[in-house]
């Protein structure tokens, strides 16, 4: 199409009908992953010169997937793992103009676990592990741990979990855990209005430094319209010489609650019985995107 340039403020008149000037090219802005596995957001700034655009269209390369609307435009149909750039075209009945290309964007797989931070306890041991300044860019969090403590000769041990340094009585939990004493047993434990939520790693009348494995999910952690739910699976190895029985390792299923609507920005995990996490204990924090 011919590029018709401005003749006056109203455009060119042809047989009594005003012909709009061609829009000038918009300026491409930021592009971002909308965490659905197939959509991206494309921002632009319309030109303040040239004719008025009636439509703005964002187009991907490769693929030619498009979306229209005002900034930011959502482009659908994309694929995970492909590097895309985007342009935005301003158009009206007279013509169109296209921006330069955006920076490259590769969509992440929905549900993919992304490492945020991790730590390994050194030779001196540590009473607690805290993750602070947790980014708000995920949907859920997961803590994974393989740990030991120096607690021995006690029949039960547990972790406490606090969020955002809240020491108020705003936590609860309910737990089901199986032990391995003279006969296998299952115990239910419930706590309310506590100063931390809690989960057990099981009965332990064995020596210190047994290995405990923990997976803890912290759901919808940035949602400011609800309390926060934590669910945990934990258990430990009995080193083949446990207590008075030989019933294998223990297991604990737990669900906790933090009665606070603030987004979670920090997590503190500690042993309930003044034990220290010993050397080589590892904690890792992961983020999960997608709804």
């Amino acid at each position: 199409m011919a590029n018709i340039k401005r003749a006056n403020a109203s455009g060119i008149t042809k047989s009594g009908t005003a012909i709009s000037d061609v829009p000038d090219a918009p300026t491409i802005g930021a592009v971002s992953d909308l965490s659905t596995g197939d959509t991206a957001s494309v921002a632009y700034t319309a030109a303040t010169t040239g004719g008025a655009a009636t439509t703005f269209t964002a187009t991907s390369s490769p693929g030619g997937f498009t979306g229209t609307g005002s900034s930011p435009i959502t482009v659908s149909g994309l694929s995970v793992g492909t590097a895309y750039t985007f342009t935005v075209t301003a158009s009206n009945s007279t013509g169109s103009a296209t921006s330069g290309a955006s920076s490259s964007l590769t969509l992440a797989a929905v549900g993919k676990y992304e490492s945020i931070a991790s730590t390994t306890v050194g030779a001196g041991g540590s009473s607690s592990i805290s993750f602070t300044s947790i980014p708000a860019t995920y949907t859920h969090l997961q803590v994974r741990a393989l740990c030991q403590t120096n607690r021995a000769g006690y029949v039960i041990d547990a972790f406490t979990v606090k969020f955002n340094s809240d020491t108020g009585s705003n936590y609860s939990w309910h737990t089901l855990y199986g032990g391995f004493d003279s006969s296998p047993s299952v115990t239910v434990d419930v706590g309310t209005s506590a100063t931390a939520t809690r989960f057990y790693w099981g009965n332990s009348s064995v020596s210190a430094n047994v290995f405990t494995a923990v997976v803890m999910d912290i759901l919808d952690y940035t949602n400011t319209n609800k309390y926060k739910t934590i669910r945990t699976l934990a258990g430990f190895d009995v080193n083949g010489t446990a207590g008075t029985g030989s019933y294998g390792g223990t297991v604990c299923l737990s669900s906790g609650n933090w009665r606070n609507t603030n987004a979670i920005t920090s997590i503190e995990i500690a042993s309930t019985v003044s034990a220290n996490f010993t050397q080589y204990t590892q904690f890792a924090l992961y983020g999960i995107k997608g709804s």
Binding site: G124, S126, S130, A158, T160, V273
Partner: protein, 77 residues
Amino acid sequence: MTTPTKIVVDCSTGQETILPLTAEEIAQREADAAAFAEQRAAEEAAAEAKAALKASAKAKLIAGTPLTEEEADALVL
């Protein structure tokens, strides 16, 4: 006695810091431990009492003698 420490990992920088617990944190830690031990002792006492009731109920059932309400509860609740 060595002062307990805590590990703080700043997720925005990846920086890891080892800090000694403050006197307040140590006191809180000891209070938490004491409360936990008290709760566990109470739970264990309750479990032992229930086990005793069940044993008593079993003996009475075998002997054909009436159970108390507590013994019946121990069997069915």
